[in-house]
């Protein structure tokens, strides 16, 4: 894992808002976000529900237009989705009428990336192997468990060898046991591929175990409240000393208080 100092994603005074059609009002989801993500870095966003984490990731992916400010990837302004960015979705977003293999190949089908057929086949095999799903090429998503579905989602995201992997609460709908296995797998994949990753979660443990940096976002409008560096050596998931260390407890407590402060505002009624 080589951390160059070159930022790959730069958000500059990024503001995103939505129109609430019924009330003729505007909701500012994110306000003046400034954040740089370095190549190979794993950045985790945490914050209360509705704070605009998803808007941020969608702005990087190009799904949501920004209002003011800018998001650049490798120096270029994001104007729409591109093969350099891939995404893993909370509800997996697999096409139910397609087999695992066909779902994983989907990104090649929608865009011509100049990859040969032989290379595509090889990559499908590589990616399925990476997420430990070989042998399930012909299965349909509805035949798989939640954890397996999300591994298909991860394989699909990695197939084009994207520069950036975006993940929006990818393990939120997965049971606790499988979730831990998926986190370990995610860590292993990121260590193997050196992937740059922007990851959203509601779990502070997940954030600390996976992230190089944890960005705490405040409640409406979403602003960067604090950025916490996490310096535990990897792999962390298989190292029992990480979770039991005093430092871990302190960081956890610190982030928990930051998030709790923000979350309490969501209960105050809007």
């Amino acid at each position: 894992m080589s951390l160059s100092n070159e930022p790959i994603i730069v958000a500059n005074d990024l503001t995103i808002s939505y129109e609430l059609h019924r009330e003729r009002k505007k909701l500012t989801a994110l306000q003046d976000i400034n954040l740089e993500v370095k190549a190979g870095e794993f950045v985790v966003l945490v914050g209360p529900s509705g704070c605009g984490k998803t808007s941020f990731i969608n702005a990087i992916s190009g799904l949501v237009p920004k209002e003011t400010g800018s998001v650049t990837v490798r120096g270029e302004e994001v104007t729409g989705p591109g093969p350099d960015r891939a995404m893993v979705f909370q509800d997996y977003a697999l096409l139910p009428w397609r087999t695992v293999e066909s779902n994983v190949r989907m990104p090649f089908e929608f865009q011509d990336l100049g990859v040969s057929e032989a290379e595509k086949k090889k990559r499908v095999q590589e990616c399925l192997e990476l997420v430990d799903l070989n042998g399930f090429e012909k299965s349909f998503p509805y035949e798989l468990s939640g954890g397996m579905k999300q591994r298909v989602g991860i394989a699909r995201a990695l197939i084009t060898h994207p520069d950036i992997l975006l993940a929006d609460e990818p393990f939120a709908a997965i049971d606790a046991m499988t979730r831990e296995a998926m986190q370990a797998e995610m860590e292993r994949i990121v260590m193997e591929t050196g992937q740059t990753c922007v990851f959203i979660t509601h779990s502070i443990d997940e954030a600390i175990l996976l992230g190089d940096r944890v960005v705490v976002i405040s409640y409406r409008p979403g602003k960067v409240k604090e950025i916490v560096d996490i310096n535990f050596p990897r792999p962390r998931m298989s190292n029992s000393e990480v979770k039991t260390s005093r430092e871990y407890a302190e960081i956890r407590d610190h982030i928990w208080k930051l998030v709790k402060d923000e979350a309490s505002q969501t209960n105050r009624g809007e």
């Binding site: 989705p81 089908e109 046991m177 499988t178 831990e180 370990a184």
Partner: protein
């Protein structure tokens, strides 16, 4: 702690293909799967036998309730004989059934050809939706039987009139379902397709259309039910052909057994067609039935 969690997670992993074993068939399992069919068959046979007993010993006027055996005899004779060449009127159920069935299929075919593209266009383009939807809702909510006199006026007592009524009965459920399918396509599937580079055309062809297909099939299923009503109404009101006409004529000639025979045939026909579309839906969209196991 973390280590233990790891191990547990391994235990809970369900992706080992070696864990799928062949458990074979047992008599108990065969019975479990076939008992629904067996019980229903006995149930229905008992119903007809009771009917027969009641009509034999109950001193019931056959004008009101014929014997079940008479009904089946009418059905059998009606389905195995055809009118002689050049006959003005056919008493053969088969002739009338073929007329009604081919009209229904023809009308459904036209309804699908209009309804599916119409619904897809309405779902895909907000201008077309805005322009067409008041008319679609107006005609869909109008009891179709109210249009029959008008169609008879326009088209006379013809097969064209009968088919037109079937089309107008069946087209709206198909159109509205296709429309709803496009509208309710899961947002995350669309987002995923866009993230992975789909353009507008690909979004429609590769995501919206396959997503909508099961909706279209359930639209066709509803269309069959409505179309069948259309068939009978059209033939009851105007024409000298079809099962609807035969229902009217058998009642007029006090042939209640024939009347019941035609009703039974309509039930069988309707259930068969609806079950066919159910099977079709399970075949093209197995993930839908797998969801509510």
């Amino acid at each position: 702690m973390a280590n233990k969690g790891q191990q547990n997670a391994q235990v809970f992993d369900t992706d080992d293909p070696d864990r799928i074993q062949d458990i074979g068939w047992t008599a108990r399992e065969v019975w479990r799967r076939s008992r629904g069919f067996v019980v229903t068959s006995i149930n229905i046979m008992t119903f007809f036998i009771l009917w027969e007993i009641v009509t034999i010993y109950g001193n019931i006027n056959p004008l009101f309730l014929p014997k079940a055996s008479d009904m089946f005899m009418e059905l059998w004779v009606g389905l195995t004989t055809r009118a002689p060449e050049g006959a003005v009127f056919s008493g053969s159920i088969l002739d009338h059934f073929l007329h009604s069935f081919s009209n229904l299929m023809f009308g459904l075919g036209i309804a699908i050809l209009i309804g599916v593209p119409g619904g897809l266009l309405m779902g895909g383009n907000k201008y077309i939706e805005a322009i067409l939807s008041p008319y679609v809702w107006a005609l869909a909510s109008l009891p179709r039987i109210a249009l029959v006199p008008l169609f008879i006026l326009f088209l006379g007592f013809t097969t064209t009139m009968q088919v037109t009524i079937i089309v107008i009965s069946a087209v709206f459920p198909i159109m509205i379902n296709a429309w709803a399918g496009v509208k309710t396509t899961e947002k995350s599937l669309l987002a995923a397709a866009r993230v992975f580079g789909a353009n507008r055309r690909q979004l429609y062809v590769k995501v919206v259309l396959p997503y909508t297909l099961p909706f279209i099939i359930s639209g066709i299923q509803q269309g069959i039910g409505r179309g069948l009503i259309g068939v009978v109404i059209a033939e009851l009101f105007g024409g000298s052909n079809g099962l609807g006409y035969l229902i009217q004529r058998s009642a007029d000639t006090f042939n209640t057994a024939m009347n019941f025979a035609v009703l039974l045939l309509l039930i069988v026909m309707s259930l068969s067609l609806i079950n066919f579309t159910r099977w079709l839906e399970a075949y093209v969209a197995p993930w839908r039935s797998a969801n509510h196991l």
